[in-house]
Symmetry: C2
Subunit: 205 residues, 2 copies
């Protein structure tokens, strides 16, 4: 019982410390101290510090996929789906998405871990761009296509519209990771941005 717990605790505390200070700046003793045991205990669960690093990457993959599924579901299979396809609903949905991205512990930790450890594993750079930029464009393009299909927005190039819609949000998530105390300011900016977007593209036939 306790063995599995310790193994997971090592992973979690390592993730927290690596995300904040970076892999090389964190010692095994520091991690062990937070877990509440001694450094050599690590080696009963992982072959070394590097194995801890690899385990975090693997966990981040699972965590990301699960989160994306949830977000997709919460948008498309929700009693509020029709509401979400209005200006007001979009403002609410995107601000909720933004807030959970910057406020929930694990999404924030994985994002900071991946962005800060790119020199240890160049693959992480590609993962970051794919997850936090390009796949966001895909997600929002679907929404915009539906808004066009419903005659709510003008039938412009949905790919570019998605880029213009999602880019500020993606940028502000990174900015809010650096300055979390400005969160409310970013909420307001998102609201203005979406309001403006709908005003420019709204179908008035």
């Amino acid at each position: 019982m306790k063995k599995e717990n310790t193994k997971k605790q090592f992973l979690i505390e390592a993730l927290k410390l690596f995300a904040e200070f970076g892999y090389d700046s964190v010692s095994i003793s520091q991690i062990a101290e937070r877990v509440g045991c001694s450094a050599p205990a690590l080696y009963k669960h992982y072959s070394g510090k590097q194995a801890l690093f690899d385990a975090i990457i693997e966990l981040s993959e699972l965590s990301y996929e699960e989160r994306m599924k949830e977000i997709h579901h919460s948008f498309w299979n929700n009693e509020k789906s029709d509401y979400f396809l209005t200006e007001k609903g979009q403002i609410e949905f995107v601000i909720k998405l933004f807030n959970s991205a910057v406020s929930e512990e694990y999404p924030r930790l994985f994002r900071n871990f991946i962005i800060s450890e790119k020199s240890k594993n160049p693959e992480l750079s590609k993962i970051y761009n794919e997850r936090y930029i390009f796949s966001q464009y895909g997600f929002f393009e679907e929404i915009i296509k539906e808004l066009i299909a419903r005659d709510i927005l003008n039938d412009e190039n949905s790919e570019i519209m998605a880029i213009e819609y999602a880019s500020p949000v993606a940028l502000w998530i990174e900015a809010c990771d650096r300055e979390p105390e400005r969160k409310e300011e970013f909420f307001k900016m998102i609201e203005n941005h979406i309001h403006h977007f709908f005003r420019v593209y709204r179908k008035n036939s």
Copy 2:
């Protein structure tokens, strides 16, 4: 003669290594090796590793201000200024700006240094957001105001227009720092983005 040279070389090589691997991952011996002398030589020029870090931050401030002045000048006091205030000119100007940001050595190094050392100095987080996000909005808002004044673009909210105009570019600079091999792809995206922006906002009276 040689003393000043060595001092500057230490700074430059430290910046390169810190930007790529992070402060804690780089040893003084590594820096000294690149400079072409032994580690203790550092202490004749700087009081220690931390002093090197501080000197880089100070230099980055000077470098940034000089660069911003040059960019401002190259836009507003240029024989091509009128041309830059057209769709085609904007595409050329912004792509040139993007290309120099991601391709020139020192802007890239300072950006990566500042973004990666935020845990060593929390002030760097604010500096990053101010320099690479918020001041960009200000710069492009001036351009958009001029485009509106010249009756080239519709008189919409210039602040939000600047946010929508500049955010993708700022985001793609970060993305291109992570995947420089995709540079040409980002050029094309910028072209499409600006073309679309002008089509949506162009005054057709």
